[in-house]
Every structure is written in structure tokens, then in C-alpha cells.
């Protein structure tokens, strides 16, 4: 068992943060821990890694109790970037992690190259951008090729290039057999990396597969809206108007219909982006997000 959480509870004075949580994960892949800000995602990960002691219950990671420090030989935890030492370089951090895991120094170059941070490896972290810090944290987390990777908001604040790279790396690691649990409140990013979502609500976990909730949209940017809007309405497409075009909901069989429609309408399509959502709708249900 990679993750075995049994009856985990955490109480701060009168506030019950986690309520009798149990969770089992026994295969590689990516799981997203989702919930609004302040719901306790970071606390949950901190308790799982024993950075915060639980009030009751037990946690086993890769077959060992989380209270055993040796668990971190095969488990890495990417925390927020405040854990970094601003006055040290990226190289210093990676050398430290290498030393902790008794890995050869050549791993530093390998992992720096893998996450694309060779150019600023020798700069002090205080001069890093948010994206650079996330790269460093990721490099530190994967340098020991862990079986289990826990990531706290890894995609937070990343520019599109960094976000794409981070996603690719996570998917590649999962393909290679790493089990990844990442916390996020960014549902569109979550949908791009996994369908296995764990909602955290009122101290309880709700584990679900998003296949059943998946929806495909196309963001179509056009030069002029008017002919297309009428045609979409006429053909009974579900769509929203956006600033410069439409956000059109598709079933998988309707994509060709949409292309045909665009050709028939003779409109100038400036851009067309695919957008997959699934968790958002379910999120609205779980967290009872009301309409505006």
C-alpha cells in the first residue's frame, strides 16, 4: 500500500480540522486534493507527513508509519516556497537534499536539467521568480526518485510556460510509476493532469473519479459574432458568449458538427482552444457553490 490512512483526526482546541479520515492508494497515478482556500489541504498534507502530529488515527506511507523518519527516503513533500533559504543558491539546496539521501552529486545536474533550471542553479534563491522557486522545489522533491510525491499547490502562481512544464513532468513521473498527491484549488489545472479527485470538505475526504463529470468545451474566437450566434442557437448548441467569441459545450460526437457549422457559416475563426472540465461541476455540487 502506498498510502494507508486510517481514522485520522485532528483537532485544534474546539476546531475539528480532520474527522476520522481514511484513505487507501495502492497504485501509481495522480490524485488531486481539492477544496477551497482555508479548508485544510496543507494541514492534511502536513499531518500525513507528520509535520503536524495527528490527534488520532494512523498514517502509513510506502509501508512505513509516517512517524518513522526513514519514510522520507521514498516519500517527498513539495511544500510552499517559504521553506527555501533565500540566502542560499539552488545548487546549495539540491546538494543538501542529495546529501540527505546520500546521492551522488551528479544527480544535481541531471535533475536541474530535467526541470530546466541549469541557467539559474548558482543564483541565490532570493533572486528567483515564483516559477523558478517552484522548479527548484520540484527538483528537490524528485531528486531521490520517490515512490510517493506529495505536492502542496505546485501549480500556484506559475506562468503558462512553467505550468505546462510542471504538468508534463508530473504526468511523466506518474507514467514511470510514481504516486502523486497534489493539492490545488485550480480546477482547470487539475482537470489537465488527473481525473482522480479527493475533495476535502468539513474535515472529510470525498474520493471520486471525474470521468462521469467530464465536459469538453471549445473556446472559439471570431472576428464577427453575429452569423455564428444564430447558427449555434438554431442547431441547439449549448454555449456562452465571451468577449470575442463563444464557449461552446460539446459531446464527443459533436466536434465534426461544430467544424461543419463553422465552415457553413463562413465566419473568420481567429482562434480555437479545447477546454476540458469535469471537476468544476462536481465541485459546485460538493461545496454547494450557489449561482451569482
Amino acid at each position: 500500500m502506498i498510502v494507508a490512512i486510517k481514522n485520522l483526526s485532528k483537532q485544534y482546541k474546539k476546531q475539528q480540522v480532520l474527522r476520522d479520515i481514511s484513505l487507501s492508494i495502492d497504485s501509481p497515478g495522480i490524485w488531486a486534493l481539492v477544496g477551497p482556500n482555508g479548508v485544510g489541504k496543507t494541514t492534511f498534507l502536513n499531518i500525513v507527513t507528520n509535520l503536524i502530529p495527528a490527534t488520532s488515527g494512523s498514517v502509513e506511507l510506502v509501508g512505513k508509519s509516517n512517524k518513522n523518519y526513514k519514510v522520507f527516503k521514498e516519500v517527498s513533500y513539495l511544500q510552499d516556497n517559504t521553506v527555501l533559504f533565500d540566502y542560499l543558491t539552488g545548487y546549495d539546496h539540491l546538494k543538501y537534499v542529495c546529501d540527505m539521501h546520500r546521492l551522488p552529486a551528479k544527480r544535481i545536474r541531471e535533475v536541474a536539467s530535467y526541470v530546466g533550471m541549469e541557467n539559474y542553479l548558482r543564483k541565490t534563491v532570493g533572486n528567483y521568480s515564483l516559477g523558478m522557486k517552484q522548479h527548484l522545489l520540484l527538483a528537490m522533491a524528485i531528486i531521490n526518485e520517490p515512490k510517493l510525491l506529495l505536492l502542496d499547490e505546485p501549480l500556484n502562481g506559475l506562468d503558462p510556460t512553467s505550468a505546462i512544464m510542471m504538468r508534463r513532468i508530473l504526468l511523466e513521473l506518474a507514467d514511470k510509476g510514481t504516486t502523486i498527491i497534489l493539492s490545488s484549488h485550480n480546477l482547470s489545472e487539475v482537470d489537465r493532469v488527473t481525473k482522480q479527485i479527493i475533495f476535502l470538505k468539513d474535515g472529510k475526504l470525498i474520493e471520486e473519479n471525474m470521468d462521469q463529470y467530464e465536459q469538453v468545451y471549445y473556446q472559439v474566437t471570431v472576428k464577427k459574432k453575429s452569423p455564428l450566434k444564430e447558427l449555434l442557437t438554431e442547431k441547439a448548441f449549448v454555449f456562452d458568449e465571451t468577449g470575442s467569441g463563444f464557449r461552446i459545450l460539446l459531446g464527443s460526437h459533436e466536434f465534426q458538427s461544430l467544424l461543419d457549422l463553422l465552415q457553413q457559416s463562413d465566419v473568420d475563426v481567429l482562434d480555437m482552444q479545447k477546454e476540458i472540465t469535469g471537476s468544476e461541476k462536481r465541485y459546485e455540487e460538493v461545496f454547494e457553490v450557489g449561482s451569482l
Binding site: 509535520l51 503536524i52 512517524k67 527555501l84 546549495d92 546529501d99
Partner: protein, 367 residues
């Protein structure tokens, strides 16, 4: 070992060591220059001090002479004779000091002291006590035997005496408090800045994190002590002419016995090393316990000053580690505590260190 090297790297990168080294150099340099500049004042102050004695004795002699004319008595006559003798000796001494005749000055001071004792025995007034006068005689006899001139212990530029002066000035509760407030920040800041959460998520037992922090504090403190002692020794050695046998220069203990300044330095260095060990363990326990710079700083300051004040006010018992925080005081007033006091410091330090490691073992690091 690797964890320790990383700790040392962090210490060097924070510039703490640079500021500590620069501050120490500035302080020692400033005191040394002050001592050099005040050498002429030492002679002038000696002359002034003995001139004041001379004035008092002369005045009393005049009074006694008038009284003898009015109403002579054996007692008065004895005091007058002793007073006139003391007056002569003081004049000779002032003359020797002014001319820079060091050997004559020592001999003259012995004779003045003996004469003053006799004068006091004859009910004459002299502002020094019997004990002080006897101490002066013992000290000067020893200096004459060694062929050394008398130094002002607070303004000498002879290496061991300058070292002693610096040790009294710096290796005291205030000095240790400042040093460990600076070093202690390296623990609490890592909790406040959340860096410690990263350290706790590596395959390293938490007790070892505590031990490594303690070791790094101790190593930096010891390195600073060596640097401080070397500077205090080298500066006068390189700049001034060192007298032969200067490490045998006698110091007076509270009991009136004499001690070589070389022995004093040996004891002071060992007490300082022991105190650094004790302070590092205490700061580790407080830093890992409270995890906040302000709270920890207040507690460290209160403990050092409070403990030292207790030790000064009758609690300077053998088993109280704060007795040894002021090395000068314990060396001069409690010579019997050496070397057992160092053992006390080491044992208390080990207990504190174990307490820090134990209490941190199961405690979390995040909120």
C-alpha cells in the same frame, strides 16, 4: 557530518560570522589604542594618588606638631614620628614614579605601605586598609623577584594583561548574552521563516537536527573564542615589546593570595569554553522550545542576567552553572571551584541538550 557542513554553510552565508568577526576586531582594536594612548595618564594618576596621600599625611603631621606643642604625649609623639617617616617615604616614591625608576617605585611602594601600616597602628589616618597595604607589599615583592614593573591591569598593553582585560570586558554575562542572542537567531529564524519544515521532511531523525544545530552553535562560538583570544594576544605582541616572564605577572585573589596571570588565562579560557558549551545547550533548548526570536531572546537575556545576579548575591555555589558565567569573579573569589566547575558546566549542558532532543522528537513543526 553533511548536515553539519550545511549548517556551517548557512552560518557563513548569513554574514553573521563576518559581523561578529568585524565587531570583535573593532572592539579589541579600540581598547588597545585606548590603552596605548593612556599610558602617560597611568603615571600621572599614580603621582596624583600618592600626592593625595602625601597631602593628607602632611596635614595630619602639622596638626600633630601643633598639638605636641600644646599638650605633648607619648602616643602623639609616636604618631608624629611615624607620620613624618611616611611623609618622607611618600616623597621618595613620588620622585621615583616621576623619574620612571620602576624598581625604585616598587621598592618605594613597599616601604610606603609598611610605613603606612605602622602609621595606622599609631592611630594615624591613611585611606588604604591594612589588608590592601599588605596585598601591595606581597604583590610588589613578587614583582621585584620577577624583575617586572607594576602594570595597570585595566590599561596594560602587555599580552597576558591585555588578554585578561579583554576577557573581563567581553567574557561576562553581557558578552555571552549578546553572542548567543546573535547565534540563537539561527534556530528561531528557521522556525519563523518556515525553513525548518523542509528540514523535517528529510530522512533525518529530529533529535539529530537538534544535535546538529547545537554543534554548529558551539563550533561557531568556539571559533569566535579562539579568534577573540588570538586577536587579544597577537595585537599587543606584534605592536608592543613584550617583557620577559610577563606570563608570571602576579594577580591578587580575593583571599589575598597571588596567582600567575598565565594560570588565570588558562582557567579563564577553560571556564569560557565550558560556558559556551552551557550557553549553546541552553539556547538550543530555548530556541527549539519557544521557536520565536523575540520570546527566546527575552528568556535568554533574563536567564543570563538573572542567573548571574543570583550568583553575585550569594548563590555562587559550586553546582550553579551561572556561577561560572563571570569567569573573572569565580577565578578570583572561588579558586577552589577549579576545575570541578568546568565539569559542572559540561554535565548541565549535556542534560539541557538531551532535554532539547527529547522534547523535539515528537513535536510537529508546522501549525
Amino acid at each position: 557530518m553533511r548536515l553539519l557542513l550545511f549548517e556551517m554553510k548557512k552560518m557563513t552565508r548569513t554574514r553573521l560570522l563576518f559581523f561578529l568577526a568585524a565587531g570583535t576586531l573593532l572592539l579589541i582594536g579600540a581598547i588597545f589604542i585606548r590603552n596605548v594612548l593612556q599610558q602617560d595618564m597611568v603615571t600621572a594618576e599614580k603621582v596624583e594618588s600618592f600626592s593625595n596621600h602625601l597631602q593628607d599625611v602632611s596635614s595630619q603631621n602639622r596638626t600633630d606638631l601643633m598639638m605636641m606643642e600644646d599638650e605633648p604625649s607619648d602616643e602623639l609623639e609616636l604618631r608624629l614620628n611615624k607620620g613624618l617617616d611616611l611623609q618622607d617615604k611618600l616623597n621618595e616614591l613620588i620622585d621615583s614614579i616621576s623619574k620612571g625608576l620602576r624598581e625604585d617605585e616598587l621598592q618605594g611602594e613597599i616601604e610606603v605601605s609598611r610605613s603606612a601600616i605602622a602609621y595606622k597602628d599609631a592611630r594615624g589616618r591613611y585611606t588604604m586598609s591594612h589588608a590592601d597595604l599588605e596585598d601591595t607589599i606581597r604583590l610588589n615583592e613578587q614583582l621585584l623577584a620577577l624583575g617586572l614593573p607594576k602594570e595597570d591591569p585595566d590599561r596594560s598593553n602587555q599580552p597576558p594583561l591585555f588578554m585578561k582585560q579583554m576577557m573581563v570586558l567581553v567574557l561576562n554575562p553581557v558578552g555571552y548574552t549578546v553572542l548567543f542572542l546573535l547565534l540563537g537567531i539561527s534556530i528561531t529564524r528557521e522556525f519563523e521563516d518556515r525553513n525548518m519544515r523542509m528540514v523535517y521532511a528529510f530522512p533525518v531523525p529530529r533529535w539529530r537536527v537538534v544535535l546538529v544545530k547545537f554543534t554548529s552553535l558551539l563550533l561557531v562560538a568556539m571559533a569566535w573564542l579562539v579568534y577573540f583570544l588570538l586577536l587579544s594576544y597577537l595585537l599587543p605582541t606584534l605592536v608592543m615589546e613584550t617583557r620577559e616572564q610577563i606570563f608570571d605577572y602576579p594577580l591578587l585573589l580575593t583571599s589575598g593570595e597571588l596567582m600567575r596571570v598565565g594560570s588565570y588565562i588558562n582557567e579563564a579560557v577553560l571556564y569560557s569554553a565550558g560556558t559556551l558549551f552551557f550557553a549553546a545547550a541552553m539556547v538550543t533548548l530555548i530556541g527549539f522550545g519557544f521557536r520565536q526570536t523575540i520570546v527566546s531572546s527575552v528568556i535568554i537575556t533574563a536567564l543570563f542576567t538573572g542567573g548571574w545576579m543570583l550568583a553575585r548575591n550569594g548563590m555562587d555555589v559550586f553546582l550553579n552553572p551561572f556561577t561560572y558565567v563571570s569567569g573573572n569573579q569565580v577565578i578570583l573569589s572561588q579558586p577552589a571551584f577549579y576545575p570541578g566547575g568546568i565539569l559542572v558546566l559540561l554535565i548541565v549542558s549535556i542534560v539541557l541538550l538531551f532535554a532539547a532532543m527529547w522534547s523535539n522528537q515528537r513535536r510537529g513543526v508546522a501549525k
